[in-house]
């Protein structure tokens, strides 16, 4: 059973910020969804290979040749904060 504490923990893992009211609602809704999903437990999957992809993929290789890539000004051009060369974010190790 998914609890409010689970939801709080998962919200940090998911990098989401939920207020108290949202936590309650999310816990309630996720609990019902998870309860529905729990029906998968009744399926006998002994020895069944998990299927992560519709078709069994093999690695796709190409020659290791230099190809044009997105110019830097376009790559950083959509960033909320940039100095034109890098993406700017709040300091990680204190001010």
């Amino acid at each position: 059973m998914i609890t409010r504490d689970d939801v709080l923990k998962v919200s940090l893992l998911a990098r989401l910020q939920l207020d108290d009211e949202q936590l309650d609602l999310m816990a309630d809704q996720l609990a019902r969804i998870v309860q529905y999903v729990d029906q998968l437990a009744e399926v006998d999957t002994t020895g069944v290979e998990p299927m992560a992809h519709p078709f069994e993929l093999t690695n796709v290789f190409r020659d290791d040749q230099l190809q044009p890539s997105l110019p830097r000004e376009q790559a950083v051009g959509s960033a909320p904060r940039t100095d034109g060369e890098c993406f700017l974010v709040p300091a990680v190790l204190g001010e």
Partner: protein, 512 residues
């Protein structure tokens, strides 16, 4: 020219004959969009009129001097999760409300190469998560058949654009039914191709083992035309299949004699609207009269398809949407307010003597991520990210994610067994017609269950199509669901086209 918009194939003939020009056609579509979009909210952005007409004129002036492309002069709308260089591509999200991609999706390039003129980008459920187009940051799209009802989703704008005769052709994307379900609810034709049939380069990722781009059109012939233009291998998408593309327009002409159809009887005997059931039964009788043989076929694990789908798609979504971090592109929270809040929280905890909790406080970077994402994403997107993160987290991975992948294989094996017996599977797209706006908003699970009949094709990777097959007594469209083995789109299109030779459901249009 009359105000009714003919099919793309008819328009292509008229363009070739010179009885209409691309410029006239694009102007007509832009006029219809201007007249009708206020009430329906189909488009999130429309091309600049002068630029679109200029592009149409260029197509017109090339005609005769060089071979015309497959879609030369035809106006097309694209779902707003397909990157279009230099235009806002929003995914109907606050997160990407101002995002302008620096490159074109491969399908956009292919449309252009075929001579199509893109006239705008259509509304969707945020990041294609939803079945009603109500989860749009820019407001819901309304069903052209009855504006109190949803158009379905997530490609609700794409389907409504064709139903309302704003464009003859549009592109949607389908992760769990997002092309077929809105096509059914809007009375148009929608095809989800085989996983890998159409390049997804430039499609904003939702669930990468399920997503596929496909056509939404007036009829199966137009779907064949549009698929012909966009199908094929693309070196930019390593999951696109290097499988030859057949001549779809030729394939659809083959009659149905000898075709063996599997009827998904369980889907007709459960909780289904009697009018929908009657329409599907009538369509089956028509196909039988056209020479197909019918046999009931089971898909024993299909009752687990929705649970399997929501674990897998939410897990993949939680991973894919991790890229929206407020740093590289997209929305970022107000940093000054964020720092002030953090300072206050720290002061309050210190005043209360909770030193341990102070150490647990988010760093400014983590808080920036969290606030940017929670302010930028809508409720449904956050719910799925939470579900997926939970299903992938330590202690739950085996019980949910791994388990779902195992059931996915069983679902795929059901299809393999069915296709060993029959050429095609037929059933309803949805158990009921379009529901009312707001009806399912309070109960996410009830919205998820709308996908019951459609998610199997995505889990198995096979192609599937929705074809109009009737109306309810209150005038809402009903869709027939066709599913075929991998890379057998031609078979779906053939059955759809042959069915449409003897029925006229696909020709009906809502009052404007």
């Amino acid at each position: 020219m009359s105000t009714a918009l003919p099919t793309a194939a008819e328009l292509a003939d008229r363009l070739a004959q010179g009885s209409v020009t691309a410029s006239q056609l694009v102007a007509q579509c832009l006029d219809t969009i201007r007249q009708r979009d206020g009430g329906l909210n189909v488009f999130l952005s429309v091309e600049d009129r002068d630029a679109a007409l200029q592009e149409a004129q260029a197509v017109d002036s090339r005609r005769g001097s060089e071979p015309a492309g497959l879609l030369a002069g035809l106006p097309v709308a694209i779902k707003d999760n397909i990157c279009h260089a230099g235009r806002k591509t929003t995914c109907a999200s606050q997160m990407l409300a101002e995002y302008v991609p620096p490159y074109d999706a491969s399908v956009v390039r292919k449309l252009r190469d075929a001579g199509a003129v893109i006239v705008g980008r259509t509304n969707l459920d945020e990041f294609a998560m939803g079945g009603s187009t109500e989860n749009s940051h820019f407001g819901p799209t309304r069903n052209p058949w009855n504006p109190d009802h949803v158009p379905g989703g997530s490609s609700g704008g794409a389907a409504a654009a064709v139903a309302a005769e704003m464009v003859p052709l549009s592109l949607g994307s389908d992760t769990g039914g997002s092309i077929r379900q809105p096509a059914a609810l809007c009375g148009v034709t929608g095809l989800k191709p085989t996983y890998g049939r159409v390049s997804r380069y430039g499609l904003v990722a939702f669930a990468s083992s399920l997503d596929q781009i496909g056509p939404i059109t007036r009829d199966a012939r137009d779907a064949a035309l549009l698929l012909q233009a966009i199908a094929g291998h693309d070196e930019h998408d390593s999951t696109s299949a290097d499988v030859p593309v057949p001549d779809y327009l030729a394939a659809i002409e083959q009659p149905l004699a000898g075709l063996k159809i599997g009827v998904l009887r369980e889907q007709l005997s459960g909780d289904i609207d009697p009018e929908v059931k009657a329409a599907i039964e009538a369509a089956l009788a028509t196909l039988e009269a056209q020479g197909a043989t019918l046999v009931d076929v089971p898909l024993p694990h299909s009752k687990y398809a929705v649970a399997t789908y929501y674990v897998i798609s939410a897990s993949e979504a939680s991973s894919n949407l991790a890229r929206y971090d407020g740093a590289h592109y997209g929305y970022r929270t107000d940093e000054r307010a964020m720092r002030e809040t953090l300072r206050q929280e720290e002061a309050e905890l210190k005043a209360a003597g909770k030193e341990a909790a102070v150490a647990q406080l988010d760093s400014p970077l983590v808080r920036m991520y969290r606030l940017s994402r929670s302010e930028g994403f809508g409720t449904e997107v956050q719910r799925r990210i939470m579900l997926g993160t939970y299903a992938l987290s330590a202690g739950y991975y085996d019980a949910y994610y791994r388990k779902a992948l195992q059931v996915r294989r069983l679902i795929r094996q059901d299809y393999d067994a069915a296709f060993a017996q029959v050429d095609l599977l037929v059933g309803p797209v949805t158990a009921s017609t379009a529901f009312k706006i707001g009806e399912k908003c309070e109960d996410p699970l009830s919205m998820y269950l709308v996908d019951l009949f459609t998610v199997g094709a995505n889990l198995a990777g096979i192609p599937a199509m929705s074809v109009p097959c009737g109306f309810s007594s209150d005038g809402l469209p009903i869709g027939l669901h066709l599913q075929a083995p991998a890379f057998e789109e031609a078979r779906l299109l053939r059955v759809g086209h042959q069915y449409q030779q003897v029925t006229d459901w696909h020709t009906r249009r809502p009052a404007s």
